[in-house]
Symmetry: C2
Subunit: 678 residues, 2 copies
C-alpha cells in the first residue's frame, strides 16, 4: 500500500479538525488507513455507513467531508483491477518472482482465506493476473505455459477476457488441474501454492497429481503475487454491525450454547470457524467486506464451553458492538489467529476442523503445534441452514415486499417493452431502484442476470455495455435477481414474453413449469437428499429429449449468502439431507443457444408436513416463498393436467391476495390480469 506523506493534502487537515471537533480521536495515519480499507471494500448500499468507524455521530458537514475523502480514496485506488483484459507484464513479473523463489510454477485459484464465493478486491489475484473476472477458476503458471481452468458457465467470458496466446484455457470439470498437472509437470519440478487459498482436501489431490508426475508441491510462506502487485488493495474495511434478534430469531448466546453442544458431541474441545457466513450467523452480526453478501471477514475459534474468540480487524467494529457481543466473545486482530492455533496445540486440544472447508495452512499449523484434529464439517453450516421461525417469518415478509417490487417491475416491463427502446441494462436499473424503495433493502443479492433473446440462453449471463440488448418483439426476456433485506434474502427468476411467443417457446416454458410444480408439490421422507428429487423437476424436459446444465436448486441464507450450503437440489450427490427450515431455490430451465432462455425460479422452505389421514410416516414438503406472477402468455394450458392447473391458479390467487393490497392501482390492475385463473 502506498502512503502519502503527512500534510500532503490540505483538505485532510481540515477533515481531521472537523473530526476532532466532533469528538473523534482518529489520527491522520489512522484515517488514511481506514479510507484505503473502505475503498478496498465494495461500495455498499449506504455509502456513508463506514463513517461510524471514525465518528460515532457525524453532522452533515462532517459527512460531506468524509464522503469527499472517500471519493478521493476510491479515485486514487489504482490497484489495476479496473483495467479490462489482461496485462502481460504481470504474468512476466510473476514468472520472475517464481524464479527468484526457486519455483517452476504456481497455482492461482480464485479465492481468499475464507474459501467462499465472493472475495474482497485484495484477493482478486486471478483477475489481476489474467483479466478473468468470473467467480470460479484456477490458473496454473509454469515457466513457458500458463493455463486457466474455468467451468462451462465461464467459457465465453474467459475467451473474451483472456489472451489465449499467453494463457491457454481449459474446462475445469473435463480437464481438471490435477489431471493436467499430472501429465504436464516435468520430473523434479517444484510447483508452489498459497496454503491459505486451498482446502486441505484440494491440496491432497494436487499433491497426488504432482507425485504422479515426479514433481513436488510446495507451500509458500507469502503469496508471490502480493509481492509483485503494486497497489494491491489492503484488507477491506466496512462496519460490522449487530443483526437484530428480531431478524435473527435466536440470540447469539443461544446459538453458541447449541454449537458448544455439537462440539462436545463430536468429542472436540474447539471448532475452527473459517466461513464468514458461519461467523455472521453465530454472532448475529453482518458486515460489508465483499459484494452482495453482508459478510465481515474473520476467523473464529469456538469452544465447547460456549466461548468464541474472533479474529477480525478491530477497527471494523461499529461503535458499541464489542460490548453488545458480551463477555463470552473476544475480538482479536486477524494476525493473532496463528498464535491461537499454536496455543490449541500446546494445550493439547482436540480441534474440529473441516478438510473440505478450511485452508491447508490451518491444518499444517495445528498439526505442527501438536493439536489433535477431529475432521468434520463446521457445525454452524447445518445449524444456519435450518432457519428458525423468526427467520422464516422474516423471509415471508421480505418475499411479500420483494413481490411488490417485482410486480411493479413486471407491470412496467409490460408497458415499456412494446415501445421497443427498453434494454437489459435499463431493466436492471429499474428493478434495483424499485427494490431500493424498501426501508429494509440492503442491496442486490447477486449481479442481476437480465438476458434478452439469445442472451437469455447464456446461463450466467451478466449484462455489460458491450452485450446490452434491446427487448425485441417475439423474443423472451429472462430476469434472475434477488435482494438482500434485513429480514431475508430473495432470489427469483421470471421469463417474460415480449409480444407473441412462438408455439415452441410456450411448449418448452410449460415443460419447465411442470417441473416447478412437481417439485413444489412433492412430499418426501426425512433423510432425503437433493440429488434424489432433482429428477422430479426435470422429467417433463427429459420426456422431450431436453435438459438444463445446472442444478435445480441451491440453499439460500437469511440476509446472508444467496448461495448457501450444505443443501442443494442437483444431479450431483451431496450427502446432507433436506431438513425442516431449510430454504432452497427451485429453478429448472431450458436454453436454446442463440435463440432464447427460459427459467422459472421460486424459493421454497422445507417444512414438516402435518400427518395426513392414513399417513404412516412424517413427511417433509415445500412452502413457496416467492410471490411473483408467472407469465400466463407462455403457459400452454393444454399441456397441464388438472392438478397442475389447480396449483397454478391457487398460486396466482395467493400472489394476488398477498401483494395486491400493497400495490398502486395501475399495478394492481396489471396484477389482476397477470394472476387470472386458467
Amino acid at each position: 500500500m502506498t502512503r502519502k506523506r503527512k500534510g500532503e493534502s490540505g483538505s485532510d487537515e481540515m477533515l481531521l479538525a472537523t473530526l476532532a471537533a466532533a469528538g473523534s480521536t482518529v489520527s491522520s495515519d489512522e484515517l488514511d488507513e481506514v479510507l484505503a480499507g473502505v475503498a478496498a471494500a465494495p461500495p455498499g448500499h449506504n455509502p456513508l455507513a463506514w463513517t461510524v468507524l471514525v465518528a460515532a455521530a457525524a453532522g452533515s458537514d462532517l459527512k460531506d467531508q468524509l464522503r469527499s475523502a472517500h471519493d478521493r480514496a476510491v479515485a486514487a485506488r489504482n490497484d489495476g483491477l479496473d483495467r479490462a483484459g489482461m496485462d502481460p507484464a504481470r504474468l512476466a513479473a510473476l514468472r520472475a518472482e517464481l524464479a527468484r523463489l526457486g519455483l517452476d510454477g504456481f497455482i492461482v485459484p480464485r479465492g481468499d482465506e475464507h474459501l467462499g464465493e465472493y472475495v474482497p478486491r485484495r484477493a482478486e489475484r486471478l483477475a489481476w493476473l489474467t483479466g478473468f473476472t468470473g467467480t470460479a477458476g484456477t490458473a496454473v503458471v509454469l515457466g513457458e505455459r500458463a493455463v486457466l481452468f474455468v467451468d462451462g458457465r465461464y467459457t465465453l467470458e474467459a475467451e473474451a477476457q483472456v489472451d489465449g496466446a499467453l494463457i491457454e484455457r481449459k474446462h475445469l470439470i473435463e480437464t481438471p488441474p490435477e489431471g493436467w498437472l499430472a501429465s504436464n509437470l516435468a520430473k523434479d519440478q517444484k510447483l508452489g501454492y498459497d496454503p491459505w487459498l486451498h482446502t486441505e482436501k484440494e491440496i491432497k489431490d494436487l499433491a497426488r497429481a504432482c507425485t504422479n508426475a515426479g514433481a513436488e508441491l510446495i507451500a509458500v510462506d507469502a503469496n508471490p503475487i502480493d509481492r509483485i502487485w503494486q497497489n494491491q488493495p489492503p484488507p477491506p474495511i466496512a462496519p460490522v454491525v449487530a443483526h437484530d434478534e428480531s431478524f435473527a430469531g435466536e440470540s447469539s448466546a443461544a446459538k453458541r450454547a447449541r454449537l458448544a453442544d455439537k462440539i462436545a458431541e463430536l468429542a472436540a474441545d474447539t471448532a475452527v470457524v473459517i466461513k464468514p457466513d458461519s461467523l455472521a450467523w453465530l454472532l448475529n452480526v453482518r458486515g460489508g467486506d465483499v459484494p452482495f453478501t453482508p459478510l465481515a471477514l474473520g476467523f473464529a475459534l469456538a469452544d465447547a464451553s460456549g466461548r468464541v474468540e474472533v479474529f477480525m480487524d478491530p477497527r471494523t467494529l461499529a461503535p458499541g458492538l464489542a460490548g453488545w457481543l458480551g463477555n463470552e466473545v473476544t475480538v482479536r486482530p486477524r494476525d493473532a489467529f496463528d498464535e491461537a492455533l499454536d496455543r490449541l496445540g500446546s494445550e493439547d486440544r482436540k480441534v474440529l476442523v473441516d478438510p473440505a472447508g478450511a485452508p491447508a495452512r490451518v491444518f499444517t499449523r495445528l498439526r505442527n503445534a501438536g493439536a489433535k484434529l477431529v475432521e468434520g464439517a463446521d457445525p454452524c453450516v447445518r445449524m444456519k441452514a435450518c432457519k428458525n421461525e423468526g427467520e422464516l417469518g422474516g423471509a415471508r415478509a421480505a418475499h411479500r415486499r420483494d413481490g411488490v417490487a417485482m410486480a411493479r417491475f413486471l407491470a412496467w416491463i409490460g408497458r415499456e417493452a412494446p415501445q421497443g427502446a427498453l434494454t437489459e441494462m435499463g431493466a436492471v436499473e429499474r428493478l434495483e431502484a424499485l427494490r431500493a424503495e424498501d426501508a429494509l433493502f440492503r442491496g442486490p443479492a447477486f449481479a442481476t442476470i437480465a438476458g434478452a433473446g439469445p442472451n437469455g440462453a447464456i446461463v450466467h449471463y451478466r449484462v455489460s455495455e458491450r452485450t446490452n440488448r434491446r427487448l425485441e418483439t417475439g423474443s423472451l426476456f429472462l430476469i434472475d435477481s434477488g435482494g438482500q433485506y434485513l429480514d431475508g434474502t430473495t432470489d427469483v427468476t421470471r421469463t417474460l414474453a415480449v409480444g407473441e411467443p412462438s408455439a415452441e417457446m410456450r411448449e418448452r416454458f410449460t415443460r419447465v413449469l411442470r417441473g416447478n410444480i412437481a417439485l413444489a408439490t412433492l412430499a418426501f421422507p426425512k433423510g432425503t437428499v437433493g440429488a434424489q428429487i432433482d429428477a422430479i423437476a426435470r422429467r417433463h424436459l427429459w420426456d422431450a429429449g431436453l435438459d438444463y446444465d445446472h442444478g435445480t436448486g441451491h440453499g439460500v441464507g437469511s440476509y446472508l449468502g444467496v448461495h448457501e450450503g450444505p443443501q442443494r437440489i442437483a444431479k450431483v450427490y451431496q450427502k446432507v439431507p433436506l431438513e425442516h427450515g431449510m430454504i432452497v431455490s427451485e429453478e429448472p430451465g431450458y436454453y436454446k443457444a442463440g435463440a432464447y432462455g427460459i427459467r422459472t425460479e421460486n424459493l421454497l422452505v422445507v417444512r414438516e408436513r402435518p400427518m395426513a389421514e392414513g399417513a404412516e410416516r412424517a413427511m417433509l414438503a415445500f412452502e413457496v416463498l416467492t410471490l411473483v406472477p408467472i407469465d400466463l402468455s407462455l403457459v400452454e394450458a393444454a399441456l397441464l393436467d388438472a392438478e397442475e392447473i389447480a396449483w397454478l391458479n391457487a398460486y396466482h390467487a395467493r400472489v394476488a391476495e398477498e401483494i395486491g393490497p400493497s400495490l398502486d392501482s395501475e399495478t394492481r390492475a396489471w396484477l389482476e390480469r397477470a394472476t387470472r385463473a386458467l
Copy 2:
C-alpha cells in the same frame, strides 16, 4: 473331512467296477472325494449332472449306482448345518480355540473368499456357529460376550434362530460392528479376523475402530472355525460347463480382448478377478457351487494381452471344457493362487484390484510380494452389466416362457384359492413345477417369497412349515419368484387379491402401480444414476405419507446372479450410472405390518431411446421384459390418469399378444379376462 477306509463298503466296489467297465479311471479315493464334494454343493436342477465328472458317458445302470452313491454321501454328510437353531458347544469351542491362539475375540462374517451373496456349505461358518441362516450378518465373539449384527430384513429371523442369552443381537446399520467394537473392545485386546473373508476396505474400517479402542486387529493364517468344525464340508464339486455363445452373445475371446483393453487403459498389467460371476461371464462358463446362481467358484488373473489364468478345482471341469476354453486360458488348482500373486510381485507387475471387492488377504499378499497396486473396480462387473443383443434376445425369450408359466400359475391360483385349502408352500411348489416344464429352466433364481396375508408384509419372508399360511378370502397374496433359464434370469413379483379386496388395499396397490408406471415410462439422460430416479417410483406413496424400506430396483444377470451390480435404483447413492443394456428390476411396494404386503415387480432393460422430434439430447429409457398380468381387481382406475390407464392397457395387450398363443385354452381364457382393457 472324515474318510472311510478302503473296501469298507461293498457297494462302492461294485460301483468302481461298473465305472471301470464304462472306461472311467477314477480310483476309490478319488470317487470318495468327488462324492463328498458333490454332497457339499447344492443339489442342482439335474441331480445327475455331476456324473460326467467321473464318467463322461454313463448308461442307466451306472447312473443308478452313482445316484445311490450320491444319496449315501448326502445322508452321511453330518456337517451340523441341518440342525435348527444354535449349539452352544460350538461357541465354547471357538472361545477355547481363540484362547489357544492368544486372541481375545474373532469376527465371523457371513461370506466366503468371493464375497458374494450366496456361499457353499463349507463357508456357512456363521450359520454353524450361531444358527442364523440369513444371507447377510456378522458375529463378533469376545471372551464373555458375543454379538450378532443383522439388518432389518433379518431381525425376526435372528430372534427366532439365535439364543439371545448367549449371543446379543444388534442392528447392522444402526449399530454397525465398527462402532460397537470401538466402544466395547478393551485396551490392548487382540481381535482376530480371517483376511480371506473381508474386503480391504472393511478391514481398514475395522482397524480404525480397533485403534480407537486401543485394541489390535490381527489377521489369522487359518480360520479357527475350520479347526473346530468337525465334518466341515469340503469345497463343493459341481460340473463347470460351457455357456453356449448363442446365449452369451459374445465369445469369451472377444470379452477377454475387451477386458485386456480396459486393463491397459487403467495402466495395469494384470487384473485380479475375485467374483465368480465375473469369471463365469468372462469365460462363458457356468457352474453349480452355490444355491440359485450358476457359479463355479474360482479366482482368475487376467492380463493386458488377453490371457487368463484361472484358479479352480480342475476336477470340476466337464469333459472337454479345458480344450474348449482354448490356449489363452489356463486352469490351475486354487492352491496355486497364492504363488501366482507372489509371482506378480516378483515380476514387478501393476495389478488392478478392488479394495471394495477383493479380500484383504489378496492385498497383503500382493503388497508383500512387491506388486504395484492399481486400485479400481473389476472391469468385468460393468461390462457384464451391459447386456449385448444376444443376451437381450435371450432375456426376452426367457421372459415370454416365464410369463407362460406365471400365467398358468396365476390362472391356477384363481381357480384354487377360492376353495380355501391352498397354502403358501403349495403355491411355491406348483410355480416351480410349472417353470420346470421349460427345457431351458435350470432352477429358481432365489428362494421364492410367497406371503399370504400378514406374511406378505415381511419383506424378505421365506415360507417354512412353521409359518405356512392358507390363502384366505379377503386377503392379499404376494409372490416374488424367478427362474434361471439358460437364456436369461427372471424375477417377478405380483400381488393377488383373494376374493374381494378392501378399498384401502386397492388404493395402496394403485399408488404402488403408479410408481411402476412412472419409472417404466421415464426417459433420462446418460450419466444418470439410480439414486436420482428412485423417487420417481415413490412419490405417489410419499404423497400419502407412505413408503417402502427397500430399494426400488437391483441389477439382474443373464443366467447369472439375480442380484447383480453395479447398477441399482435405490435411495442409497451408487456412482455407476445406468447404461444401455443393463437389466434392472423395478419393485415398489407397500407393507402394512400384521395385515398385508403389496409389491409389483417387473424387470426392465435400459435402452437408448431413438431421438424424438425436437429432442436435443440422447436419452435412455426402459423396455419392460416381464410379461405377467397385473391383478386388475386391485387397480382403482379412478386414481390413474389417462396416460397411466393407456400404459396399463397397452402393457396388458402386449402380454396377451406375446404369451397368449403359447397357452392352453383354459389359461388363455383366463388371460383374456386378466388383460382386459380398463
